[in-house]
Symmetry: C2
Subunit: 190 residues, 2 copies
């Protein structure tokens, strides 16, 4: 998506360790116009997939997922990182490994929000090693629902999580797919 690629080139900051900071428009401050446009683009890409629900993971995935849900006119669910007192009822639960923090964390989704027969589109802000999407796929599998595919704002192609999912037959769409950030220069895949 041209508008997102241009925004990344203009406002993204590459830090050592292949970190791409996009906090000025995607995951700390949020450019609402751009996010809603991204949602419409994801809706266009998955228009023929009969998607019944959007699933994301807190926190950074929520904005893109909401933009997508608004465009597709389906409900959105976000997996929660911590059990809180306000969560009751039975829950799907899965473990996700975070490379950024070097730890595992558990995410939960109340069972009644994903049902057998749902065709679930996974949405997130970043796709690198794919661990977060794998966790969401595990939750969808526990619900005996199907995965329509995965849509992410930015895929770090050089970390191969996306290609591994594609090799397993999952449709993965990235609005911006970065093949390299060597020396701070961002190269998008054609």
């Amino acid at each position: 998506m041209k508008a997102l690629e241009e925004k990344i080139l203009k406002d993204g900051v590459v830090l050592p360790g292949n970190i791409l900071k996009v906090g000025s428009f995607l995951n700390h401050q949020i450019d609402a116009d751009l996010i809603m446009e991204m949602g419409r683009e994801i809706a266009r890409l998955f228009h023929d997939e009969r998607v019944t629900k959007i699933l994301t993971i807190e926190t950074s995935g929520i904005a893109v997922a909401l933009g997508t849900a608004a465009a597709m006119e389906v409900p959105m669910v976000f997996a929660k990182k911590n059990r809180t007192g306000n969560l009751s009822g039975e829950m799907y639960e899965t473990k996700v490994h975070s490379y950024t923090h070097g730890t595992d964390y558990t995410v939960v989704v109340e069972k009644r929000y994903i049902s057998e027969g749902d065709n679930v589109l996974l949405v997130d802000d970043f796709l690198a090693n794919g661990k977060a999407l794998e966790g969401l796929m595990d939750i969808v599998a526990q619900a005996n629902a199907s995965v329509a595919g995965a849509a992410v704002a930015i895929e770090k192609g050089f970390q191969h999580g996306g290609d591994e999912l594609r090799a397993r037959g999952v449709r993965v769409e990235a609005l911006a797919l970065i093949d390299s950030m060597d020396g701070g220069e961002i190269v998008f895949r054609d």
Copy 2:
């Protein structure tokens, strides 16, 4: 806002301890249509206030804040509950007390996302004792910016945080203001 009140009566669940569960449409599963409509209503209410930025707090405030930012065509910022490796630069920091969990937590906002001259509208899903909004007001004060007001989806009027803020001169708008939930019966303020 009629549509939100009706949704609360239809799908909200009152639990012991004055807890209102709205996870089926507001803060776990999200009704995107309703959220975007709520954003447009908040934009209408604060239309004359020259708002330059929306500020909320992760996680549950993000959806309503994004709907508002999209309707007002201004950027949205969410205060983060934990420092992560991806946050760099100087930050505003404040402590918020959580009654639900009985603990204090720290939220941070990168300084460059709120500037002197900004007129900031605070947005959140719930207003009960007002501690989260007070934390956001503290961040706005640290930035020498001004508070345009606060807009929340649901105010628990019987917990008085909203009325205390109003008494201090802050404009507080609730799309649904609940005066009582005694015996599980939800009574809205006229």
